[in-house]
Symmetry: C2
Subunit: 368 residues, 2 copies
């Protein structure tokens, strides 16, 4: 396991060296965790010019959900509030003779960057850009294993909720209940803020749960995910409350189901990311719902719930095997409600059976 982290760091260090930087400073938490095994708040990871070094603000918490540092990695715990680990890292790099240091300009604030430049004025500061994010896109077996477990936990939590009484309960309570069940089943915590949307709220992207109670006849959309060892997946399902869905509900559901299936079926190594979005989008546009769609159909998942690649109209790039993504189209009709169907899948070669579905809760329209 520790060789895993060491290998990731070596790969990145080699990339930086090829681009002219003997050293790199990683500060974005998900990136630090990917390379070091854990990401205490405020920590900085220095790669090169000597041995890699993790600098933390104060002592490590020892909390298992925060991960733990890779065995072979040197760790320097700075006294709490005694200065910025990022600045200390730059100082260290300069003293070790590095001529240049690549930093994450999309993460460091202007203030921290200035402080860094001040403490090491002869260090040439370059931009690492999204090199670590790019390296994180294709997942190894260990990572996919964590995502599988996260998805199992998510399916279990959702499944249990569906067996309970929903009518009369508020969106907020159901969301809190789901989060409790995620933790009960072994999650480190929820992957993101659980969304429960009933009636006219249903299908609304990014809906924060309110005190509205679930009523007979409602559409109910639920979006949740587990965080297992830092790895996050998501599932979204839509149900009807009561005995019989209305015609408009069946129609809308079948449409979104068809769009989501079309998206899932395009997933394969070599396929353009924008093609996945197009396949789902054209089903919905064809039925006249074009202007109700969101900016994209899905995104990568991993140590962050929303990471590269993006499955959207403007996306560049292609899918690879072992890239986990969501396919998450939906329709929301203001005042009426709507449907969202969301799965997490891993891109696999067709010869291996096509995309591996992680979130296996049924997508049949259930009346609850």
């Amino acid at each position: 396991m520790s060789e895993l982290y060491s290998a990731r760091r070596t790969r990145l260090r080699d990339r930086c060296a090829a681009a002219g930087s003997a050293a790199a400073l990683i500060s974005r938490p998900a990136n630090v965790r990917y390379l070091a095994g854990c990401a205490p708040p405020g920590a900085a990871l220095l790669l090169g010019p000597d041995d890699d070094l993790l600098l933390t603000e104060g002592p490590l918490s020892g909390d298992p959900s925060e991960g733990r540092p890779a065995e072979e990695l040197r760790v320097s715990e700075l006294p709490t509030r005694d200065g910025d680990p990022v600045v200390a890292a730059a100082d260290q790099a300069a003293r070790a003779g590095a001529g240049s240091l690549a930093v994450e300009e999309h993460h460091l604030t202007v203030a921290r960057h200035r402080a860094l430049a001040q403490v090491a004025p002869r260090l040439r500061l370059a931009d690492l850009a999204r090199a670590v994010e790019a390296q994180r896109v294709v997942k190894d077996d260990e990572e996919i294993s964590c995502l599988r477990i996260a998805a199992e936990i998510t399916d279990q939590a959702l499944g249990e909720l569906l067996e309970s009484i929903l009518v009369g309960r508020t969106e907020r309570h159901l969301a809190l209940e789901l989060e409790r069940r995620l933790v009960d089943h072994g999650a480190d915590g929820p992957a993101f803020a659980t969304s429960v949307a009933a009636g006219p709220h249903s299908g609304r992207p990014g809906h924060l749960p309110t005190d509205r109670r679930v009523e007979e006849g409602d559409f109910l959309t639920v979006n949740l995910g587990a965080n297992y060892r830092g790895y996050r997946c998501e599932i979204g399902r839509t149900f009807v409350i009561g005995t019989t869905p209305a015609d408009w509900q069946i129609e809308l559901y079948d449409l979104v189901f068809a769009a989501q299936r079309a998206g899932r079926e395009t997933l394969a190594p070599g396929v353009e990311c924008r093609e996945v979005d197009r396949a789902a989008r054209q089903v919905l546009v064809g039925a006249g719902h074009g202007e109700r769609l969101g900016p994209g159909t899905g995104h990568g998942v991993g140590l962050e719930i929303d990471e590269d690649p993006r499955l959207s109209p403007a996306a560049m790039g292609k899918l690879d095997a072992c890239v986990p993504v969501t396919v998450d189209p939906g329709i929301h009709i203001p005042g009426r409600g709507g449907v969202r169907i969301d799965d997490t899948l891993v891109v696999r070669p067709e010869a291996d059976g096509g995309p591996e579905l992680l979130t296996i809760t049924t997508k049949e329209l259930l009346a609850l």
Copy 2:
């Protein structure tokens, strides 16, 4: 209410003008919310040179817990993923003829700052520094009212938990239960991640709840707070589980209680922030616990759970009336446990009765 926001913006704009900047760009969410009434993710607030303008990434969510824009404030909803509101704001300022723009260098990343400079190359970019944070320190009646309600909700949630059976329940479950009760009593959500620490975990600063079950004889420390309309307070209490505290527990509790009382009793307008910390700290140091103490004794609260002023040994500055702060000393003995006692209070003149205690749950050592 809207005049409130307008007045805050005018005051800041005047400060910037005096420092040579005709316009300012606010991007830190708590600061945007303070000046505009809401802070949608990614939003940027442009003050001057013309009418103030809030630029958002996509449509406003309409979710009440996110607040709503001040009535008189112009809002520009940029198409989702169509660019950075911060960059659009700088472009707007340049077109309106501003010669300089003050930005929050402690918030903007290097990448966003470069993008801003690129879109408006003739705009002189200055540092707003923590001008908004400084303006937020003294709270008005409306803000203190929200904090009072947040504290009431917090006291209610905690009070209910104390009436229930605790033995045998895990730290995680108790934390989730507390968060549910906060929401039940009207909170927008928890102010921060609720901490429940039992037995050897008790008194540990920043402890993340685990699956350890509460046992007879344990110390149990609980830290929680409500977020009400964006305003966050906190309370911390320590209990003993079972019928009779052990002698070492009573001794340790009395000590932390005395330290916390000493801290509370120094609170008054004009008192140096470091003096509050010193008063609490010397009680603990005097009893031989010097090296177990945290970096400070308390901090301001408001739209953020941890804001200026800091009550720590290195703190500059003095307290003012209407400044809400926590007084939060504690002792943790690794392997054994410890005590934390934390209140939120508002600094008031002695003539008005001294500091106003918001978190009124008893600080007597209860055996539960």
